[in-house]
Symmetry: C2
Subunit: 343 residues, 2 copies
């Protein structure tokens, strides 16, 4: 489409309207529109195809200290998205190529490449839908990959426990742990998801924390203790797991989905004694620290995918109008797979 | 002294009489005596000279899960001690040599070498009292050494914060951190100890947590945040430090002196968010995991000692009668240096 045509096209957007103190709800956002911008020298125009809904987005709009600056009131909501380059004045981004990046909750964006995180492999000989590059072959799986392998250092035969085990990150953690020869125990929030864990993601044991006696279930599932804990929740689930650590355990804090508000700091059982007695460690993960190694992870994930070792589930919400309420849906645990907005 | 003479000598002992739920007090111990044993083939007789009083002894007599089996009621109280070999049927332990090990609160012990942890270097060309091998050249300093260097991985110019900064372990941590080119901040419990920290142990900043606004003092002392936290206390001190972590911080849990009872688990502010946002880590230290590398540490500590880079303070209690109340003295923070019982 020539530039003069594009310039008359409208870019629909979702802006942050007010700052939530906990989980962002539909009321915290508002719709806006603008004319699609024109890419200048060294820039290109992306048309978003899928917008990713991620737990991290709660942190992006709250005021508490986070990795990055909070989204400003009135700004386009920050979001990972997958789009197609439809106009380009940049030698590295050809028209027709697909890119993943922080393109925001909107239909179009002009980029100079700084906000691009992944390029969908051009020559990929896979029968895989593009949306997978936002999930099982995207940032969620890359997060699982480095958190588990780099911080968790799982060894064959060890027991790996995963919270939000059926989620986009958790399901990848469980499957990568199986690939590495570990015994996997998944903790999730419904009997249906227990089924996903067992049938789709190969967990050896899956526990519904809402109905099980979690402590008893963990004791049964982990007779030799927990060697690796990949944590996406914090809260009561983690409290139970930390009491089951094996000597030398490694715990990865990837997310804190069960804690609605961090200011003031919520209280929980102290973990220092469990760490001391088991000479265990807990470490926080920030996936952008691994940015220069993402291609390495993506390559191996694609390899496993081709070998049929990585399953995934997706749930699509159709249209930008669904975006404002989607984060709350994620925190309710109502989604049944990687949550995506399809434009 | 020939064996037949030794056999008529009395070994005075301190036994665990009852199990404390928190800090062991004098009332939890009782005195006993027995005839000194005769070393058999492959054994040797040690006469204890100094008994070490260590925070870990609280854990050794409590029932909560610990590194090792709790001391049995009626058994000699477990303790690190330094003694002289006075009779030997063991080729590796010559009469007149000095050894450090878990010899217990008693005057004599027959050993086969299994309970020996360190041999005082025979040819050590140092003007250093033997007692130092229970402190600044002993297990306390070795604990500081591996915790700080192996887990803490301090880099030149980084800020290292130490709790119980004037204690036997903490004072070694602070000095080793200075040797490695770090800025050191010590947290301690009296103005007198603040003086020890500054004058004897070279801390750049020392804070009396009992009188200071700890949060404000830490903010001032650590303008770029805390890169390494060597924790001997847990509790409110750690809560404050965890809110000041720099990106990539490493925390070592070496002790939990401020927590009297761990069962039921005491509550504190959750630390997952601080770990996540700063991609920081907390790891427990058990010094016996490093047993095969103790000689390596001792060699370097002796080198630094010879170069005048390691100061130390000691406080002596005279006679076995002082042992039963000595652990409580330590937990009150009433001691003014490495606490030792001199026999």
């Amino acid at each position: 489409m020539p530039l003069d045509t594009m310039a008359s096209i409208i870019n629909h957007q979702v802006l942050l309207a007010s700052r939530p103190t906990g989980i962002p709800e539909a009321e915290h956002f508002e719709f806006a529109e603008e004319k699609v911008g024109t890419p200048g020298e060294g820039e290109f125009l992306i048309r978003n195809i899928f917008l990713s809904v991620d737990p991290a987005m709660k942190g992006w709009v709250n005021v508490a200290k986070n990795y990055s600056e909070p989204v400003a009131i009135g700004a386009v909501m920050r979001a990972i998205a997958l789009g197609e380059v439809i106009e380009s004045n940049h030698p590295k981004y050809a028209v027709g190529s697909h890119v993943v990046g922080t393109f925001g909750w909107q239909e179009y964006i002009v980029s100079n490449g700084d906000d691009v995180r992944l390029r969908v492999p051009d020559l990929l000989d896979l029968d895989v839908p593009l949306s997978a590059f936002l999930g099982v072959l995207g940032m969620n799986a890359i997060t699982a990959y480095f958190g588990l392998l780099d911080i968790g250092e799982p060894k064959e035969g060890e027991t790996v426990v995963v919270s939000t085990a059926a989620g986009a990150v958790g399901s990848a953690v469980g499957q990568i742990a199986k690939i590495k020869g570990c015994r996997t125990v998944g903790i999730t929030g419904s009997d249906e998801k227990v089924g996903f864990c067992r049938d789709d993601f190969g967990y050896d044991v899956a526990i519904n924390y809402k109905t099980a006696d979690l402590e008893a279930a963990l004791t049964e599932a982990c007779p030799d203790g927990v060697n690796v804990y990949y944590d996406n929740t914090s809260g009561a689930i983690s409290d139970a797991v930390y009491q089951k650590l094996a000597v030398g355990a490694r715990c990865i804090v990837c997310g804190t989905a069960s804690i609605e508000v961090w200011n003031p700091l919520p209280a929980g059982p102290r973990i220092e004694r469990a760490l001391l007695v088991n000479r265990a460690r807990i470490q926080g993960l920030y996936i952008f620290d691994y940015l220069d190694r993402w291609e390495e992870a993506l390559k191996e994930l694609c390899q496993w995918f081709q070998e049929g070792k990585l399953n995934y589930r997706e749930e699509f919400l159709d249209g930008l109008a669904q975006a404002p309420s989607s984060i709350a849906r994620l925190y309710e645990g109502a989604n049944k797979g990687k949550l995506l907005i399809r434009l």
